[in-house]
């Protein structure tokens, strides 16, 4: 079983604690000149995304987590699993509800996602920061109205509900920031 010593700690290092995989967000080495050294870390639980603080005595060991982040293409959903594919090997991975729950509304076929695998199984999915999606439902556009700030609700092809400016029409493709869920612009014509 691979382990890491606290002296190997750095941002991005992944290890297991209390049965869950964690990644180090921030590591600070604290040591009085003539005393005990500690590693003060902020770590993110890769299952829950919760960030906690923890202090390790220098020299302590943690169990390495077999966690990998791989770019994959989203394929389809079958009601139980969401399927992704590694574009070079064509190897497919099925992600369960828990892994996709935060990003379900940003899953679009053939789009690239970062899939975090833990012990070979998808643990979480990170969407691209920007995604282009088609509007499937919204009130008719008000031509010429480009007033700043005025918006109306709209639903996109993945089911996400967003706010768009009044001039946007059903059937149009718009660019969205997946981190905030905000409309950015109309997509440029292909």
């Amino acid at each position: 079983m691979a382990t890491y010593n606290t002296s190997e700690f750095k941002s991005g290092l992944k290890f297991i604690m209390d049965g869950d995989p964690y990644t180090i967000v921030e590591n600070e080495f604290v040591k009085p000149g003539k005393g005990q050294a500690f590693s003060r870390v902020r770590i993110r639980n890769l299952k829950t995304n919760r960030v906690i603080e923890k202090t390790f005595k220098s020299g302590e060991k943690v169990e390495a987590a077999d966690v990998m982040e791989i770019d994959m293409e989203y394929l389809y959903e079958d009601g139980e699993f969401w399927h992704f594919m590694e574009p070079t090997s064509f190897e497919q991975h099925a992600a369960g509800e828990a892994a996709v729950t935060d990003v379900k509304f940003w899953l679009k076929a053939q789009e690239q996602y970062i899939v975090t695998l833990w012990n070979g199984a998808p643990l979480s999915i990170t969407p691209p920061n920007f995604i282009e999606l088609k509007i499937t439902e919204c009130d008719p556009g008000v031509q010429g109205n480009t007033a700043q700030g005025a918006t109306k609700p709209a639903i996109v092809e993945t089911g996400a509900q967003i706010k768009v400016p009044l001039f946007v029409e059903e059937g149009e493709v718009v660019k969205i920031d997946t981190r905030t869920g905000e409309y950015l612009s109309r997509a440029k014509e292909a």
Binding site: N27, A37, F38, E53, T55
Partner: protein, 321 residues
């Protein structure tokens, strides 16, 4: 990977000016600049400091050498030979100390004042630091280790026990397991996590009179029911700048300290370090009453250059050395 220095040119100029100012300070005070070996046959036995050990690949002599972690032992040999007041500016090495405030290779200023009481040395350290650091305000605080622990936790650190300290850590520091921490580690955890963050960021704080177990090579003083180590540490905010002692001059006690340190290493399954016999012989010959202090000069430079990490004041820090 970049070949370029990690420093700004202005930082290099600040370092050169700082070294010049320090030398001028000691010249004016008639303290002699000296040099001692960086590579020694003996190492630092202190269980909280790890030396780099080097092997010589020659047949005639395959005994290891240690890179010094401070020039303390050798400078005390000079003191025992009646060198009088001395200072040294040198590189020192401490294995596996890396972080925002630590680089395993760093520059130390160490000096000794014969006949000084450690409170006199505190005055001189203040004088030097305030002259080097014009941005630091002059309302220096000198506070006893005991007062800090009583004010913050209601615990007398000289008369406490492991259980009381473990409870205190559990209450005040989230996410630190106490089961494998001894009494000193618990005190260090409370000091670094809860007390240091409260220190003034604009003026110096001196902590004085440490628990006897943390004496290192400092002299002990007997209070009513316990002993304290006549030691001080200097901080600006949480940055620890210097560490000074009323030096222990008894041969017997210096021998005991070195033995205890190696015994501690054995218990914790750390490498046993070759004791400095030359140092012990010098102590037997007799060292005058002296106070001594060491300052981490890279941390002084961090303040001068107004940067957040030590790597920004070292031309080629550990990762790119």
């Amino acid at each position: 990977m970049s070949w370029k220095p990690a420093t700004a040119h202005t930082t290099r100029q600040l370092r050169a000016q700082m070294l010049h100012d320090i030398r001028a300070f000691f010249l004016q005070k008639n303290v002699l600049e000296v040099e001692t070996p960086a590579l020694s046959q003996a190492g630092n036995t202190d269980p909280f400091i790890e030396s780099f050990q080097l092997n010589q690949e020659i047949e005639q002599d395959n005994s290891p050498r240690y890179l010094h972690t401070s020039p303390e032992y050798a400078m005390k040999r000079l003191l025992a030979d009646n060198s009088g007041d001395i200072y040294q500016i040198c590189k020192v090495w401490r294995a596996s100390e890396t972080g925002r405030n630590h680089n395993p290779e760093f520059t130390m200023l160490e000096w000794y004042r014969v006949g000084f009481h450690y409170h006199q040395l505190i005055q001189e350290v203040t004088e030097l630091l305030l002259s080097l650091l014009p941005s630091v305000e002059k309302n220096t605080v000198i506070i006893a280790y005991k007062t800090l622990f009583i004010d913050t936790f209601g615990i007398n650190p000289h008369q406490t026990n492991q259980r009381e300290l473990a409870n205190c850590v559990q209450k005040n520091i989230s996410g630190l397991a106490t089961n494998n921490l001894d009494q000193q580690a618990l005190l260090d955890a409370l000091l670094t996590h809860c007390i240091e963050p409260e220190f003034d960021k604009k003026s110096l704080t001196f902590i004085i009179d440490y628990p006897a177990e943390q004496s290192a090579l400092a002299q002990l003083r007997t209070e009513k029911n316990y002993q304290v180590a006549e030691r001080f540490e200097v901080y600006l905010g949480t940055s620890e700048l210097a560490n000074g002692y009323q030096e222990e001059i008894s041969y017997q006690r210096n021998l005991e300290i070195l033995d205890t340190e190696n015994a501690h290493r054995k218990t914790n399954q750390q490498t046993i370090v070759t004791q400095d016999k030359h140092f012990l012989h010098a102590m037997k010959a007799g060292m005058p009453v002296t106070s001594g202090v060491a300052i981490g000069l890279d941390r002084i430079l961090m303040i001068l250059a107004n940067v957040k990490s030590i790597q920004e004041v070292i031309n080629f820090p550990w990762e790119s050395a």
